[in-house]
């Protein structure tokens, strides 16, 4: 790994200011970034550690009943603290990687990274979450629908920090992950959420353009909330799915259906 200077701000303001330096990058839990830096696929002169900023850690409830998770909150904390308030999200967080990864990795890092196989992007998109981005010009609110712009691409601007993610709590929800056992990431996973005004279905691990909403399933499930409603649907186009040695496009397209139906059955 190339050497760099590490700065450790205590407040969000200081972190935003530090990220204004030329060639500076945020460091969340480092569970994606450090391996990438070791492989020399990422580097910067200055890394800004977010782990010392207490104001972006923890879980609370806002006036609209949304669960607000600080961007620096670890997966382990979400698994523990949302177990009653939002079990589907807690179970998603509690199955990311392994216990040691969950003690360092953060929701802000996962969402900012937008790995096409990551878990949180499906949870945020499926829950219709709002992402709070803190930058030099203040705070921006970005709907999940406008945030995830394709593989490793988001609506975040240079130097912006995910300070909080706000989750409306659905009537019923579930995350079903078909695990790729070597990486422990999903091969394909589905997050389904039933709200009073309709159903949302977010799929990760499948599409070569990253997390997406499977709108056909959303329509079918809004009309008939049952695993059978999914079984009758045509799977997404295999040509648009990721194809690699772990599973080709047709296999992944099939898994999209299977995991969605399982999620509905278990919700």
């Amino acid at each position: 790994m190339y050497d760099f200077e590490l700065v450790k701000p205590k407040t969000l303001r200081e972190a935003v200011a530090a990220l204004q330096a030329e060639d500076a990058q945020a460091l969340g839990g480092g569970q994606t970034l450090l391996p990438t830096m070791k492989a020399r696929l990422a580097m910067a002169e200055q890394f800004v550690a977010l782990s010392g900023i207490d104001e972006i850690k923890g879980v609370c409830l806002d006036d609209d009943g949304r669960i607000c998770i600080g961007g620096g909150t670890t997966h382990a904390t979400v698994a523990r603290e949302c177990a009653e308030s939002y079990p589907a999200l807690a179970s998603l967080a509690g199955r990311i990687g392994d216990p040691a990864v969950r003690n360092r990795g953060t929701i802000g890092g996962s969402i900012a990274n937008n790995d096409p196989s990551a878990c949180y992007p499906a949870g945020a998109l499926g829950s219709n979450a709002t992402i709070m981005a803190e930058g030099p010009n203040g705070t921006r609110e970005i709907a999940a629908d406008d945030f995830f712009l394709g593989m490793f691409t988001t609506a975040l601007e240079e130097g912006e920090i995910v300070s909080e993610v706000k989750f409306p709590v659905p009537e019923r929800a579930r995350y079903e992950k078909f695990i790729q056992p070597a990486s422990r990431f999903p091969l394909v996973a589905a997050f389904v959420a039933k709200f009073s005004d309709g159903v949302r279905v977010a799929i990760t691990g499948a599409s070569s353009s990253g997390v997406f909403r499977w709108t056909e399933a959303e329509e079918a499930l809004s009309a008939d909330w049952s695993p059978d409603a999914v079984k009758g649907l045509t799977a997404p186009d295999a040509g648009e799915m990721i194809s690699d040695l772990h599973g080709d496009g047709a296999y992944r397209a099939h898994l999209v259906k299977v995991m969605t139906a399982r999620a509905v059955a278990a919700a």
């Binding site: 790994m1 050497d3 590490l6």
Partner: protein
């Protein structure tokens, strides 16, 4: 370079660290505590697991400078005060939970974190918790047996498959 101080196995210890110095290198090279192993260096294998402020983390995937002031326990801190093996270590010996021993420090640290959180885990819970710890030798059965025994539970003979 910066001087980094942590409480390691109950003692205040200091050593220099560059920005990029990983906790595992700070422990092994800075403090000469070589019990913590590097298996993969890519965050996959868990050989480097230590406890930071009580929680298991991969020492190859966290920066030393970030942990200035932290409390760290390594495998060297797992023995009893008189130098005899701690409960989890002794169980690994009794149940042949190791062969080459390379993964063992990480296994012991992960297993003891599990038992702190869940003192009487089921076999399935042990296997699930140790998901991030890879062993190339044992086939895991004896590791699971050792953890069950360390928790004071009845250990069914686990036949090698």
């Amino acid at each position: 370079m910066a001087k980094v101080t942590m409480n390691v196995n109950g003692k205040s210890r200091s050593a220099e660290a560059e920005g990029r110095t990983l906790l595992v290198d700070w422990l092994r090279e800075g403090l000469r505590l070589t019990g913590t192993h590097v298996g993969c260096d890519t965050s996959q294998c868990g050989a480097c697991v230590v406890h930071v402020n009580g929680d298991p983390v991969k020492a190859c995937s966290v920066l030393a400078q970030e942990l200035d002031g932290a409390e760290v326990t390594t495998i060297e801190g797992m023995a009893n005060a008189d130098g005899s093996l701690g409960t989890v270590q002794q169980a690994f010996q009794d149940y042949h939970g190791l062969q080459c021993g390379f993964c063992t420090p990480g296994m012991v640290m992960a297993a003891s974190a599990l038992l702190k959180e869940n003192p009487q885990p089921s076999e399935a819970e042990v296997r699930h918790y140790l998901e991030g710890n890879i062993c190339r030798c044992t086939g895991y059965h004896n590791i699971v047996k050792a953890v069950m025994a360390a928790s004071g539970q009845q250990v069914e003979p686990v036949a090698a498959e």
